[in-house]
């Protein structure tokens, strides 16, 4: 009986540790995937705004507002997706270690991007579009140049 209880305890312990381990691995990998999805969405919306600046699409305040809102929403979501311990996972990540060593600055830069996206939402005049886009684009550059590793592809 005592022996059995010992076995049960040991089995429970092993099971807990296994699940905890798997759980952690899955969650860090999921977090990385989630933030990459969020950033892809931000990038996709930015390309729509870029198309207007390039003259490939006409200026349309509704399109600007919609894409700026998408960027703001996903930038806000992304700010929750860089928890401690998510620097590695089972998928490749380009997040640099400085995100966690200079976390306050990283969060500030992400907030700056979010604010720039929010400001873009209220752009209704074409003359205000380019300056707002400059600010928004610079906020992307500012963060990426410090906190993202270059990609081979």
């Amino acid at each position: 009986m005592i022996r059995n209880r010992k076995h049960t305890l040991a089995a429970a312990l092993v099971a807990t540790m296994t699940f905890a381990g798997v759980g952690m691995a899955v969650s860090s990998t999921d977090t990385i995937k989630d933030r990459q999805d969020a950033m892809e969405t931000v990038g996709g919306a930015m390309q729509k705004l870029g198309a207007i600046a390039k003259g490939e699409a006409p200026f349309d305040a509704a399109v600007v507002k919609e894409n700026a809102a998408t960027m703001e929403e996903h930038l806000r979501k992304a700010s929750t997706l860089f928890p401690e311990g998510s620097d590695t996972g089972d998928v490749e990540t380009w997040a640099k270690a400085e995100i966690w060593t200079d976390h306050a600055d990283f969060v500030m830069k992400l907030k700056t991007a979010e604010a720039a996206a929010e400001a873009m939402k209220s752009v209704t005049e074409e003359s205000a579009f380019r300056p707002a886009l400059g600010k928004l684009g610079n906020s992307c550059k500012e963060c990426h140049q410090t906190y993202r590793r270059p990609k081979q592809r």
Partner: protein
Amino acid sequence: MTRTARGRSAVAAFALFVVVGVAAFWLLTRPRPLAATALPDHTPDPMGGEVLYHVGSCGSCHKAADGAPGAEEGLPAGSAALPTPVGTFYPGNLTPDPETGIGRWSEIDFVNAMTRGLSPDGAHYFPAFPYTSFAAMPIEDVLDLHAYLMSLPPVRSPTRRPDVPMLGLARRGVGLWNRMALGDRRFEPDPARSASWNRGAYLTNGPGHCGECHTPRNWMMIPDRSRYLAGGPHPAEEGDVPSLRGLLARGRYKDVGDLTLALQYGETFGYDKLSSGGMAAIQMNLAKLPESDVRAISEYLLSLN
């Protein structure tokens, strides 16, 4: 022969070996500057020099540290740290301050720095300063750049010695590295190509020194010219530098106009992957070039398979 005599001759042989070795090292590493007679008859054009300054991103490595003299004005007063795997460098003050900048340099001093990697007192610079690419520049262009730098406001900002292990020996040893890595790099235009393509090739490979990061290096840190601009590990930080070959085939850019806009505006126009690894500063410097030069660079890059 007694044991002491044999011992003495062994010591003598070893001493000779050391002396010959040191002499060979000394000879093979000696600086080989150009003489002032190499200077052509040329009236420098500071405006042309300004274009070369931006295409070379001179101000990005030679920038002032935050809060240091020249930082607010964006002047290349040096003092900001440049960390590399070899050690930390503090690129020099490029403003014409006579004490701490290039104010007292002669034209030939500047030409030797740019194309031979030599300081005015004849010491080797480390190749973190890309004279290996600048050696492609005609002396006339180097003099234009010099004239532009001399037109900047002087900033007093003392230069710091690099933080490199065994600094003196390492510095001298660069002479040996130069024998393998420097060679004759002068740019030769390809008459079968357009003037714009040739301008782009020159700007990319000479003053632009794109190959310093975009070409992989061997174990001696010598660029592998058989894989020119083919990308590889970042020479100074983590991550990989993308290949600049086959940009069209890989669908990275649609055409010359597309890449031109990407280099002029980067992420501001929604072009991704132009900010990491130091590229954001470079892209913003390229934005200051005349559009014809950015187009020329794009035309050249998109021709690489």
